[in-house]
Amino acid sequence: MNATLAWTPVCRLDRLEPDRGVAALVDGVQVALFRTADGLFAIDNQDPVSGAYVLSRGIVGSRGEVPTVASPLHKQVYDLRTGHCLDLPGVAVARHAVRCRDGLVEVRLRQED
């Protein structure tokens, strides 16, 4: 698959509510974007366990020092920084690069592994 190397502007930063995700469509890929006190995070929107595209609707929080999101379907918790599932060993969700430029949030799809 072809990793997009370009940054795609997605929305203004103020469109992201703190601690609540949104979904974005970047080159046909559904990305879940989060804005937390630790910064911006972007992961795949697809819940790897159920296959449904819902991770952007999960509850954001922390486990220990790790910033997390919980799948809204069956509550598995993921590390927002690495995409690793903290409850199911071996399960992970793809992450993407995200940054904020001039008040605009930009995403760059990342090829994992």
Partner: protein
């Protein structure tokens, strides 16, 4: 030994005897005939009073039919002819090779004038209780003669029937057999606080009729009098030995069929079991020793050598909500014994331990007000004390630590589980009380040993935390109080001041729910939007494919044709799968987030509002059609259901709340499976609480009877508000009541008698809720800020989520299956089958029968 066996009496012990014999005599060498005086087979007399809690006669049944056993109901024995070996009844003669007397006891009625007046009852059989209930209708004052165990049970029954109640006891204290004077005094304080007046140390000298010839008052030996339109006599029991006496068998010094330790009478073919037997001269008025006699005789009749093991008279009961326990040598009659007592008027706890003369061995004791130490203490009788006496008695001192018990001590007496059994289960991986219950059955009957199970978990080093999650060390209940008392209105302040970290999917929705219960405004306002689970966040229910379902409120299940048509049109226009729910309303499935506001616009315009199917909140108040149409209905059940649903709509709670109203006792609305259920009576409503369907079904308990609508509402208000304040996260009312110290009686004390002084507060909280309700969906539609979150993609709001696709099943759209895995493969992600693929979905491939037109 074999032949014809006749059993007289089919009570608790008679039945146990037949069961025990059949278990030991599989080839049916004994042909058994049971003669029963009562019209119904054996039932659980110990739980007789549950009848007034709404438990019906069937639920008390103890009878199981056996091959080779004939049960002749309503055919009492009238005589025993020992020479001919024949028992006669009014209609037949029954020959016997062996005869077992299991005739129980009769209630002793003191020979006072007026004891036979209409309105005077005894308290022994289901028929007695049914008659009492019938007679109590429309009457206001009652009295009980006798302040023992039975008398107090009867007093509570009268209270439940709505009668104001007096208890007259000849002894100078209540429950003289089980408790000592100081314990009796403590018990009296409790009982009087419940509004039951006691008259101690006085005899009833006469029962006086009123002008209608029915009972109207009691006259007392101190010259006083007590008004009473209904009287229950519970002045003790006497063994039913009349048949034995007439047959010339020797009796015990205080009556009862005299038998030896093998339970055989002076006639080698005649045995006696249960309360009618005077074993070595002593009659036992409890069921456990009765069961022991049944086992002895069953064993003897198949050639065994069992003897009566002696009686354990230990008792623990909850009478009118008060824990009372007495065990071993409770009255301290062992020569030289020592007493250690503890009285705390503040917490109203009294306890006494009886110790051997060297203070090393526990002989017995009495506990009133707090019987939490009972299981440990009872298990320690005859052995060394598990801790210093005062540590054992101090309430909540944790002194009666089960950790000090030997492995052989019986932890759960109901299910004969020892400490060793519990420890083994813990070693085998049981890490909490529910696991221990499932694995050992300990704690599953009366529940009194549950505290000890916790202690044993502690003793084994298994931590039992009440912390909500890693971010808060307190329980939901404590968190609720913190938020309420401190007036905190944001999660960030709460976690900064009383927790740590950033929160999680456990604590955030809990706090959101607490804030909502306290009336903090719209669930999507400000920071609170980030706390909500996706269901509350989109005000709809997330489905397996990422789409949502929509459930408009249909109060009481009542709906006009116009509104039905609107639902049909909306479903058709948005192509939503449509289904009638189990909650008497209509669910529309398969909506995408961006469609939700459009769908709700149409629904709100037609007069619908949110049904809160997504919230931990009131769901539905189901109704039956009731008196309006039904030929049996006695009240307007639909009207009440609608009113209740509108009153409590939107009320956020620790878990969902369901209710129902039935128009008569046929109960078509299934109100007794609801968190609160209402069933119509001729004169008003009966309120039930704590029912549950779902994972662990539970019938609701009868809470109050024959209420007017005005009296009903405040009780439900307080019930719900108290639940909201004190329950655990995701704890339905059923589990909440079961876990409550003091159970239903405590609940009644709090919300009926205002024992905690909370009622005004609870009432005000509910008034605030009712007054401030507004429809969440209407509020969203009117606010562009709130509407903004209902978009598919932040950068492509016009593109519908391409992953949501449908197939047709029985003419309706359903989630298409299988597409998601491929979608992932194409993008080159790691190949992983979604976990659901491992599940075996059973194809339903049966052809649908055609409907002929």
């Amino acid at each position: 030994m074999n032949g014809d066996l006749v059993v007289i009496g089919n009570g608790m012990v008679g039945q146990r005897f037949v069961d025990a014999l059949r278990a030991r005599d599989p080839h049916g060498r004994w042909r058994v005939t049971v003669l029963a005086e009562e019209g119904r087979p054996a039932y659980d007399r110990v739980r007789l009073s549950a009848f007034f809690d709404g438990v019906d006669a069937d639920a008390l049944n103890l009878h199981t039919p056996h091959d080779g056993v004939r049960l002749r109901l309503g055919e009492p024995a009238t005589a025993i002819d020992r020479d001919r070996r024949v028992v006669s009844t009014a209609t037949a003669e029954h020959r016997y090779d062996a005869l077992v007397l299991a005739t129980g006891s009769y209630p002793f009625v003191p020979p006072v004038p007026g004891a036979d007046l209409p309105g005077v009852f005894v308290y022994r059989t289901l028929d007695d209780l049914a008659a009492i209930r019938e007679y109590a209708r429309g009457r206001r004052v009652g009295a009980v003669i006798g302040g023992g165990l039975l008398g107090l049970e009867a007093a509570n029954a009268l209270r439940l029937l709505g009668l104001s109640t007096d208890v007259v006891e000849f002894a100078p204290r209540l429950m003289p057999v089980q408790v000592d004077p100081a314990g009796g005094a403590m018990l009296r304080r409790y009982v009087e606080e419940l509004g039951v007046r006691t008259h101690l140390g006085v005899a009833t000298t006469a029962i006086r009729p009123g002008p209608d010839g029915a009972v109207a008052a009691l006259e007392l030996s101190d010259g006083g009098a007590v008004d009473a339109e209904l009287v229950v006599v519970a002045a003790g029991i006497r063994p039913r030995d009349e048949l034995a006496r007439a047959a010339g068998l020797p009796l015990g010094p205080r009556g009862g069929v005299l038998v030896d330790a093998t339970c055989r009478s002076a006639d080698e073919r005649i045995w006696a079991v249960g309360e009618c037997a005077a074993v070595d001269g002593t009659c036992h008025g409890l069921v456990a020793p009765g069961y022991a006699t049944a086992e002895v005789v069953a064993d003897r009749l198949v050639g065994g050598a069992a003897t009566f093991p002696g009686a354990d008279t230990a008792t623990k009961l909850k009478l009118l909500g008060v824990d009372v326990a007495s065990f071993g040598d409770a009255h301290g009659v062992t020569p030289g014994c020592l007493d250690v007592t503890f009285t705390d008027p503040a917490t109203r706890v009294y306890a006494k331990l009886v110790l051997s003369d060297d203070a090393s061995t526990l002989l017995g004791g009495v506990l009133v007000g707090d019987a939490s130490a009972y299981p440990t203490l009872r298990a320690s009788v005859g052995g060394p004390l598990p801790a210093a006496p005062l540590a054992l008695l101090a309430p909540d001192g944790g002194g009666a630590d089960a950790g000090a018990l030997p492995a052989s001590a019986q932890v759960c007496s109901c299910n004969a589980v020892t400490r060793g059994d519990v420890d083994a289960a813990i070693a085998g991986g049981c890490a909490d009380v529910p696991a221990l219950k499932a694995c050992t059955r300990a704690g599953t009957s009366c529940g009194s040993c549950v505290p000890m199970l916790k202690q044993l978990l502690d003793a084994a080093g298994v931590a039992q935390s009440t912390a909500l999650c890693e971010h808060f060390d307190v329980s939901r209940r404590e968190l609720f109080d913190i938020v309420r008392v401190r007036g905190i209105r944001t999660f960030s302040r709460l976690v900064a001041e009383h927790g740590r970290g950033r929160g999680c999917d456990i604590c955030k929705p809990v706090v959101a729910s607490i804030l909502a219960s306290l009336g903090a405004g719209h669930v999507l306002d400000g920071e609170r939007a980030s706390l909500q689970d996706t269901n509350d966040h989109f005000l709809a229910n997330l489905q397996r494919d990422g789409s949502y379902s929509v459930v408009p409120r249909i109060p009481g299940g009542e709906i006009t044709p116009e509104k039905l048509i609107v639902i049909g049109e909306v479903a058709r226009d948005f192509q939503l799968y449509t289904k009638i729910t189990g909650g008497q309303r209509i669910d529309l499935f398969g909506a995408r987030v961006e469609q939700l506001p459009q769908i709700w616009r149409r629904l709100v315009d037609a007069g619908f509002e949110s049904g809160h199917a997504y919230g931990k909140a009131l769901r539905t108040v189901k109704s039956c059609v009731g008196e309006t149409w039904c030929r049996y209905g006695v009240q307007d059940s639909v009207g009440l259901a609608v009113a209740l649903e509108l009153r409590y709509r939107g009320l956020r709670a620790p878990h969902k709340i369901k209710s129902a109203v039935s128009g008569c006792a046929r109960e078509c609305a299934e109100a007794r499976s609801k968190d609160f259920g209402v069933i119509a009576t001729e004169t008003g409503w009966n309120l039930y609480v704590g029912g549950n369907g779902g994972f662990r079904p539970r019938h609701a308990d009868l809470f109050a009877t024959d209420l007017s609508t005005e009296a009903l509402i405040p009780l439900i208000d307080r019930f719900l508000m108290y639940y909201i304040r004190t329950a655990d996260r995701l704890q339905r009312t059923a589990a909440w009541i079961e876990a409550m110290d003091g159970g239903l009686d405590h609940l009644r004390a709090v919300i009926v008698d205002d024992s905690l002084g909370l009622c005004a507060d609870l009432d005000a909280a509910m008034a605030r809720h009712v007054g401030s309700y507004s429809d969440e969906w209407r509020d969203v539609l009117n606010d562009p800020e709130r509407l903004r979150r209902f978009t598919s993609f932040v950068n492509a709001p016009d593109v519908p989520d391409p992953s949501i696709t449908f197939a047709l099943e029985r003419g309706q759209p359903v989630p298409a299956r299988g597409g998601m895995v491929t979608a992932r493969d194409e993008r080159g992600g790691r190949e992983r089958e979604p976990a659901e693929a491992g599940r075996r979905r059973q194809p339903v491939t049966l052809g649908l029968p055609e409907v002929r037109r």
